[in-house]
């Protein structure tokens, strides 16, 4: 079922459903992700939590919540305030500004293909075990929406529309934070990007330029780019390993990343590998948004690496700053990386508010 059909379905259901709270017998309309064929054939399918199956009504509710300011303490911000579709659902600012004008501490991660982060965890530092868990945090984070869940739930409960939408999605007009997180997670799982130039190249629909082909070889060449050990390869359309690495940014850590979550010093300075899809839209780069351009990123891996105790063994020639790509190699690598961007994703009407 497509999202549009799902929305029509929910309207019908809302119009016809009784307002009872009998969740035990209610079943919303099952929905399926619109998975690109190459994803389906090359990697394992997403794991949808058994306690939060995708439904047309749940996805529609999740989208409504994602774009609604009602979750923030002063009704000024929504999830979409820091996860802009034009930015592949990330923020063009290094740090997002919360409702009180406070700056966050990390760059907003883009949101796509998260359904394939099958075992989690989520966030730059792995602090959320599941997508549902991830959604709990921003609502109460004082640097973000600065709300309390009781206030947010009360606002939803007292609204004119949400009780009906929750009833349609979950069979009960009674709203709670778990249902909110489940609904938004359902919507986020539908955010699928799989129509880049490189995807079309793999499908035989388009050719790469010579520069892009050279760049791909640099990407896959262990003696030059060797990007594939963390960011995958053409057989894996995610372009991330969803694992945690110290990629040689700093000698000392002002942000311990995964280490602050696990308490294990071996994890200090490790952050989750971001996907290389949609780099055209996700600047600035790195967990703290320190690099404004892709050129800066490539320069970092080429000659800017810094040693620290937990730095990844996969990084080469750290004492020399990196492998030292030539300007031509850098340009080719950049051309390839940009071929992984999917403009149709950032303009897809399915993901826009109704």
């Amino acid at each position: 079922m497509t999202l549009k059909n799902g929305i029509y379905g929910i309207l019908i259901l809302v119009a016809t459903a009784c307002m009872g709270d009998d969740a035990s017998t209610y079943t919303a309309t099952p929905a399926e992700l619109d998975i690109p064929p190459f994803f389906e054939s090359s990697i394992l399918p997403p794991e949808i939590p058994r306690d939060n199956p995708l439904t047309a009504e749940g996805i529609a509710l999740g989208k409504a919540l994602f774009y609604d300011h009602i979750l923030s303490a002063n009704n000024t911000q929504s999830c979409a305030s820091c996860h802009l579709q034009s930015g592949s659902f990330s923020d063009p600012n290094p740090f997002s500004v919360g409702i009180n004008g406070s700056l966050g501490t990390r760059n907003s991660m883009p949101l796509f293909n998260l359904a394939w982060n099958r075992r989690g965890p989520f966030n730059w530092d792995g602090s959320a075990a599941t997508l549902e868990d991830q959604i709990f945090e921003p609502v109460t984070n004082p640097l973000e929406m600065a709300n309390t869940w009781s206030n947010a739930v009360a606002a939803l409960q007292n609204s004119g529309t949400y009780p009906e939408l929750f009833d349609a999605a979950f069979g009960s007009t009674t709203i709670d934070s778990v249902k909110v997180s489940k609904a938004i997670a359902q919507f986020v799982r539908t955010l699928i990007s799989g129509n880049s130039k490189f995807d079309r190249y793999l499908n035989g629909q388009e050719d790469l330029t010579e520069a892009q082909e050279r760049g791909m070889n640099i990407f896959l060449d262990e003696t030059r780019g060797d990007c594939f050990h963390c960011h995958g390869n053409p057989m894996n359309p995610l372009w991330t390993d969803n694992r945690f690495h110290n990629n040689g940014l700093d000698e000392f850590f002002s942000d311990r990343g995964l280490g602050a979550v696990t308490g294990d010093p071996r994890d200090d300075g490790l952050f989750r590998t971001p996907s290389l899809r949609n780099l055209s839209f996700t600047a600035p780069y790195m967990h703290d948004g320190r690099f404004n351009t892709l050129d800066e990123v490539i320069d970092h891996y080429s000659e800017g690496l810094v040693y620290s105790e937990t730095v990844s063994p996969l990084l080469k020639k750290i004492s020399e700053g990196g492998v030292g790509l030539t300007p031509e190699e850098k340009a080719d690598l950049k051309a390839f990386l940009l071929s992984l961007s999917d403009p149709s994703f950032t303009t897809d009407a399915e993901y826009q508010p109704n």
Binding site: L44, L220, E222, F228, H229, G232, P234, P313, L314
Partner: protein
């Protein structure tokens, strides 16, 4: 596919054996069992546990100090061969993540009668299996278990990563190593030269009965020892496209890395 064919053949053989065999003069058929394997890791006999990764310093045969941060490897084609030479194998595979403790126990999808069998497996994938497309392996290890086509394609056999202490610099420096075993390849030739560097590990004869678990021990130190004394100063990184390094890894792996525990 070979794997499926082997599985069917094994099932037919088992069925035939079950129908025709009996214990001595007793008509009671031999019990059917599914033996399991478990995987343990040590450095010259000292167990390597999660807490040792990135913490415990080991000294290899050449005297180089190193720490380990990752050990993931693939085994396949676990086979049980009886005295008559009948081999039973489901042709399945298991990807062990030693640090994370993933897949440390594995039960091949094979049912055999109780008895004595020679037990063996393949380290990595042989060429036939390496040509397959496995969505679970495409997804494994964060989706980076695949070997790029420019390096011959297929899948990694092993990723052993860590850091060694370079004592030739002032001050001494820690340098990362990535001992990645794959099929040997030389892409300077056209077409690319490939050599199957998987190898068979023979665990010897095992009495298989109900509940049998076979411990497969990996002595990590052996990867650096026999027959080739590994020189991390020369062979620490960029080993995937190094044809000769892959041959050395394979020969070291086949010589004493694996043994049967219990």
């Amino acid at each position: 596919m070979k794997l499926m064919a082997s599985k069917i053949a094994a099932s037919v053989l088992v069925a035939a054996l079950i129908m025709t065999s009996c214990k001595d003069n007793d008509d009671t058929p031999l019990a059917e069992v599914s033996p399991s394997l478990s995987f343990t890791h040590n450095w010259d006999g000292v167990p390597v546990e999660n807490a040792d990764y990135q913490n415990t310093t080991y000294v290899n045969e050449r005297g180089e100090s190193l720490t380990i941060s990752k050990l993931v490897y693939l085994i396949s084609d676990i086979a049980f061969t009886d005295a008559q030479g009948n081999s039973f194998s489901a042709g399945d595979y298991n990807l062990v993540d030693a640090r994370e403790g993933v897949n440390l126990s594995f039960t091949p999808d094979v049912v055999i009668q109780e008895g004595t069998y020679n037990v063996s497996f393949t380290f990595g994938f042989d060429d036939e299996d390496n040509a397959g497309d496995y969505p679970d392996l495409n997804t494994a290890d964060g989706g980076v278990w695949i070997v790029p086509m420019m390096l011959g394609g297929g899948y990694h056999y092993m990723k052993l990563e860590g850091k060694y202490l370079n004592t030739q610099t002032i001050p001494e420096t820690e340098v990362g190593f990535a001992y990645h075993a794959i099929r040997a390849n030389d892409n300077s030739t056209n077409p690319i030269t490939l050599q199957d560097t998987s190898f068979t590990v023979d665990l010897g004869d095992v009495v298989i009965e109900e509940g049998t678990n076979i411990e497969v021990q990996m002595n990590v130190a052996e990867w650096f020892k026999n027959p080739h004394t590994w020189n991390l100063y020369e062979l620490f990184s960029m080993l995937m496209p190094n044809f000769n390094a892959q041959i050395l890894m394979s020969e070291n792996g086949a010589d004493g890395v694996f043994s049967r525990g219990n």
